[in-house]
Amino acid sequence: MAEGLVRALDEMARQNVDVLVLGREGNARFVSGATRLWLAGTRPFAPGCVVVRETGAVHLMSATDFGVPAEIPPARLYPMSWNPANIMGAVAAIPGVSDARRIGVDGLTPLFEQLFTATFPDVQLADGEAVMRTARRVKSPAEIARIRAAISVAEDAFGVAVGALRPGVREIELKGVFEERMCQRDTTTPAFEGAFCVVEGDRPIRRLVSDRVIADGDLVAMRAGVLLDGWEGSLARTRSCGQQRAEHGDRLSRWHAAWTPLVDRCRAGALVGDLRATAGVSVHGVGLGAEALEDGSSLEPGMVVQLELEANGVLGADTLLIGDGRAQGLTAFPYAAGGD
């Protein structure tokens, strides 16, 4: 049985959830290991994957076994449908579902809430996202290896984008350069669309690239990432285009001076909310895509987090593995010379 499924089943038992009906792709991938078509953006809840605690079985919405691990036999696949009633019918027919008292869902829509209530009038709906979040939180050595592999691809493509940062290139072209290289490394799914944005004085760094032409001496904040087999590798760095201005060198140095002690604070026991209280800091979990972390939660050994600092018009982000002492940096990409 896949290790992700074992952890999900344990957590279902702990939170007294009989059946999980999952719409979020990262959750479905965690319990199934299946590769399905990647789509950008939010999507409304639909029952894309079902886990039954009693049988330990994973059932997937898929018209084929392509990309589906052999542990999930074809009998546990149900086809997609534009008719929500057909989908609920397929879910209800899964062995063990009709006996459930508590069904965990990781999201809902008014329509599916109505269908759940009509199909399972005596069932209590529970927060399945809370189950999955806990199960996914601490990474196994195998999962850490997959995150490392994703970071390696991201760093390679990032390096090619940095190489293309020359006076006259447009911001959007760098986004294309990153993604083209990512694909040459056999990964066609970005974690997010890269931001390669000229820093405009002390204004907040943009997250949306424009068709602005980058000039000699511009400071450029770069953030990009990939999903390799669903696992995220991403990073951010700030670099000068062409000749670095002295003022930008100072900014990069100041950023670095703030970064080192910040990384040092990312230890087991540190409160996520405390880290976020520092201006310009963001923290989230890294795994099968970005994983939400609550302000009130503490870091613990085995967690992998993305730490990002935006300060003085400089942006940088690394992936850190939390251990017993100082966090281990999983990102190896060099910081700018003389600064960031």
Binding site: R24, E25, G26, R36, L37, W38, L39, A40, G41, T42, R43, S62, A63, T64, D65, F66, P79, S81, W82, N83, N86, D106, G107, L108, T109, P110, L111, E113, L125, D127, G128, E129, R170, I172, E173, G176, E179, E180, R181, M182, C183, Q184, D186, T188, P190, A191, F192, E193, A195, P204, R206, R207, L208, D211, G289, A290, E291, A292, E294, D295
Partner: protein
């Protein structure tokens, strides 16, 4: 890309439609969490991202029936429409946590509201409150496009088609699907795409369904994710890609034959053309989706499309939206769906000769006052 486009007018027209729909249903507000819905009702942009990240960084919109400017909660100030008053733009609300859900509850207007989707903390926070499905309300607004919306789709599609012209020469023995994705993604942004919305699909089709992969429906399996397996001469590749321009999706489908099409491939493409032409012959305001289904099926009585998908679908801020034609929602649904000017249809029938593979392409038209006009190139193939 010379057509007239006024983005501010487009946002104004869409907002008015949503306000009128809320008013007609006696609702005080729509609360929107789905990013295509926010893009439609407000015109705000966020960077494209994997679903998990997109959910955590989601923008939220509250559209009120009083016709005031909508309220937008976003982490991306540069994606805010310029005409939105500053006091209607707010910091993002973390909807993954009870604190964010409570904060949203505090700013919700009194009275009956519509909502498109819940996170579980929001579901808990709204327990006991009467909620109407906002997806249905927005769907009714979205189904008929304004001229500006049609122009956005036309431009999205033109970018997609131009990028595919760049890709086409690379389709040769030994090339991998992942490489084709690289060429495509390397090109779309410089052509003006706002984002890429689906992992580009280059699926090697089997000669017969029984050759696999396993099919749950017994019919042709499509789509499957792209792999790094090299293509060989004679491989039939079904292509499906989609990009975003100012919030609007493109949808490009075609069939490549590695090394060039043979006579049987051209014959399949010609039969595909006949199916689409039969549909276009009956396409005008007042025709129903059922009329299109019957026109498409007239050849041999068999539905020439994939049973878990459709003969045609609409497109807009979602890559597939109403009108849906030929789905498993059923014949009654198709017969009740009356086509009107401004509706968009992406035709994607499939020609399959078991033993000789098949042909699939996509063609986009908008219904006009007297017939239709193309928003895509007229033909998906045959191609090299």
């Amino acid at each position: 890309m010379t057509g007239d486009l006024d983005l501010a007018r487009m946002r104004r027209d869409r907002h008015r439609k949503v306000v009128d729909a809320l008013d007609a249903q006696g609702l005080t507000a729509a609360v929107l969490l789905g990013q295509p819905a926010v893009a439609y009702a407000v015109g705000a942009r966020a960077p494209a991202a994997d679903a998990a990240r997109a959910a955590q960084q989601r923008m939220i919109a509250i559209v009120t029936a009083d016709g005031e400017a909508p309220h937008l909660y976003t982490a991306f100030p540069e994606g805010v429409p310029p005409e939105l008053p500053a006091d209607h733009v707010h910091d993002p609300l973390p909807m993954e946590w009870p604190e964010g859900a409570s904060a949203l509850l505090e700013v919700l207007p009194d009275g009956p509201i519509a909502l498109d989707e819940y996170t579980m903390p929001l579901h808990a926070a709204l327990r006991g409150r009467q909620i109407t499905d906002a997806t249905a309300i927005l769907g009714a607004c979205k189904v008929v496009k304004t001229a500006d919306e049609l122009e956005c789709i036309r431009r999205a599609q033109a970018i997609n088609e131009r990028a595919m012209v760049t890709v086409e020469p690379f389709v040769a023995p030994g090339v991998r699907g992942t490489e084709l994705s690289g060429v495509f993604l390397g090109r779309i942004f410089e052509l003006g795409a706002s984002a890429n919305t689906v992992d580009p699909i280059w699926q090697r089709m089997p000669r017969r369904i029984a050759d696999g992969p396993f099919s749950v429906t017994g019919d042709v399996v499509f789509p499957t994710p792209t792999t790094s397996r090299p293509f060989a001469a004679g491989d039939v590749i079904w292509v499906d890609t989609g990009i975003d321009y100012e919030g609007y999706a493109s949808d490009f489908g075609c069939t490549f034959v590695v090394g060039g099409p043979e006579r049987r491939h051209r014959d399949q493409a010609a039969r595909w053309r006949e199916i689409v032409d039969r549909c276009l012959d009956v396409l005008k305001p007042g025709a129903t989706a059922g009329d299109l289904v019957r026109a498409a099926s007239a050849g041999d009585g068999r539905h020439p499309w994939l049973p878990h998908l459709y003969l045609a679908h609409g497109i807009g801020t979602n890559s597939a939206e109403m009108p849906l034609v030929g789905t498993d929602i059923g014949d009654e649904f198709d017969d009740a769906l009356v086509l009107a000017p401004g509706m968009v249809l992406v035709f994607e029938p499939v020609v399959w000769d078991d033993g000789n593979s098949g042909f699939r392409a996509e063609e986009i038209v908008a219904v006009t006052d007297h017939g239709y006009e193309h928003l895509s190139a007229r033909d998906g193939g045959p191609r090299g």
